[in-house]
Amino acid sequence: MTPASDTPAVVASSPVAPVRSAGRAPAKLTVRKVSRWYGDVIALNAVDLAFGPGVTGLLGPNGAGKTTLIRLLVGMATPGDGTVELDGQRIRGNLAALVRIGFVPDGDGLYEDVPARRFLLDQAEQRGFTGAAREARVDEVVRRVGLEEYVPKKMGALSKGNRQKCKLAQALLHDPDVLVLDEPLTGLDPIMRRDFIAVVRSLGDEGVTVVVSSHVLHEVEAMTDDIVLMRHGQVLAEGKVADIRDTLDTHARRIRIGTPDPRALGRLLLGEDDLVSGLAFEGADLVAATMHRDRLCAFVQQAAVDGAAEVTALEPLDDDLRSVFSYLVT
């Protein structure tokens, strides 16, 4: 994965997570120098990306260009410049590529007067399923997403969560090699959210190339470590969250140190040259800001071993997605 925009993006490790393949040919989505304008507004600016098997989170604030990129990935929009390909084949207008892609759109649009089962049967028929195989496939997918009880109902009568499941079910009918989900967890209650995340993770484990767009960090964090971070139509960073954090060497790391005597430990740390750039007392703990995480950890551990300080906990506070996001986006 190599970013090609003018803005330098953070690239960390391989974006393609190793997965437990279920005999599925790995599908690779490639975005090459893709730009897209809406009038004078540039929605995507020379974006270079590649998505392989496993789950990749597409993150960014509203208006970052996520939905435009998603539409290009599923062939529902034309790039103004550049190419979007699935295993080397153009996607837009290519039925052979569309057959391999499942898409869960962001919008709430569904056929309100149509029972969910009828909708799924129609979708299956369009995908080439006929007769008993069509019924069996719909039943199988409905079971997988946990929609059995609700499929006889008209979609207009379904809750937001069940509508989302219905959208996921239609995307899974043809056992896609690529699954693209645009803000899939919006409006779901915590239990449905947990179930939905479990399904997405299991698909990633099965070797499906899953791209999930969201602007809610903890949702993405629950699904994957691999992220692409976007802003203003450009890729800011891509790779594993921790690896991206490691590359952000302009931001001091915050480490929480649990100790019964934070002041004494604080004095010890300040006595070392250039070890900490700041100290704070948060509750009973000491929070140290440092540019040298490994050196600090080694020092604290040595202090504990030597009996110079009693240490009960040692943990980084900003190795998570939220911190990475805030450092890069805000």
Partner: protein
């Protein structure tokens, strides 16, 4: 699981027609369309109940109602609502991604949906016209049996016209954001004004060819197309049946071809553009 091959060719057309949900006359739309196409039947029934059987013969009354109400007015109006909604509803209702994501050729999608639209329209319009025919001719004893051939031609020509209108308004539904408005403008200009102008201009309208076919196939003078009357009738020469059929066929095929072209370039949702503009 082995993934089946999506349908191709005629099978794809059949699937597209069978699974077309958008634009189906349901709820208020169904009530409105039923009221529209059965309005002449209702008026005729009221006239019968009030004891009036019209000034002319039963068939002349039927032909007058057909010419004044159905051709150029009710049929195009009904087709505007059915045709534009066949694809337009998908973009208005946010379900366009389920259309564009289908692994069916765009041509098959357009033809399949056009067939679905034609089927829906015929189910509405033909019974209404047959009802008017019966209401007009039943008071005249066995006359309804005499004109059955003419009724058959009438229904056949209306079916042809329905096919053409369905294709035209399906295209409008795909190509324009305010499809209903533009369709009404088209009907007013082409089917109401143009069809009443002297022959060389009238020939550009579908309405003219429908009347020409009815006139020649049923051999009933009452169906003869009339030019604009400015003191006296403009002389209208019959155009051959083949020319009229070819004209209607060209309209239909041309509109379907344009629809397939527009659909292949169409993108899902305008909200992305709106969001991008908002961001700017």
């Amino acid at each position: 699981m082995s993934r089946p091959r999506p349908p191709e060719g005629l099978a794809a057309v059949r699937v597209a027609a069978r699974t077309c949900v958008a634009g189906a006359p349901r709820g208020r739309r169904r009530i409105g369309l039923l009221a529209l196409v059965f309005l002449p039947a209702l008026v005729t029934a009221l006239v019968l109940i009030l004891g009036e059987s019209g000034r002319g013969t039963g068939f002349k009354n039927f032909a007058t109602i057909l010419g004044v109400a159905y051709l150029g007015r009710i049929l195009p109006l009904a087709m505007i609502f059915l045709g534009t909604a066949t694809f337009g509803d998908e973009w208005a209702g946010g379900t366009a991604c389920y259309v564009l994501g289908q692994p069916l050729s765009r041509r098959a999608l357009v033809v399949g949906r056009w067939l679905a639209c034609v089927r829906r329209a015929l189910v509405l319009v033909l019974p209404a016209v047959a009802t008017v025919y019966l209401l007009c001719l039943l008071p005249f004893g066995d006359a309804w049996q005499v004109y059955l051939g003419a009724l058959g031609w009438t229904l056949a020509v209306l079916s042809l016209l329905t096919c053409a209108y369905a294709a035209v308004f399906l295209f409008f539904g795909l190509a324009f954001a305010r499809a209903v408005m533009w369709s009404m403008v088209y009907v007013f200009i082409s089917e109401m004004v143009l069809s009443q102008l002297p022959q060389s201009l009238a020939m550009l309208s579908l309405d003219f060819h429908a009347r020409n076919l009815l006139w020649q196939l049923s051999a009933q003078e009452v169906f003869k197309p009339r030019g604009l009357t400015l003191g006296s009738d403009v002389i209208v020469e019959p155009v051959s049946i083949g020319v009229s059929l070819l004209w209607i066929a060209c309209f239909t095929v041309g509109a379907l071809a344009l629809s397939a072209l527009v659909l292949s370039r169409k993108e899902a949702g305008g909200e992305v553009q709106a969001a991008a503009s908002g961001e700017a």
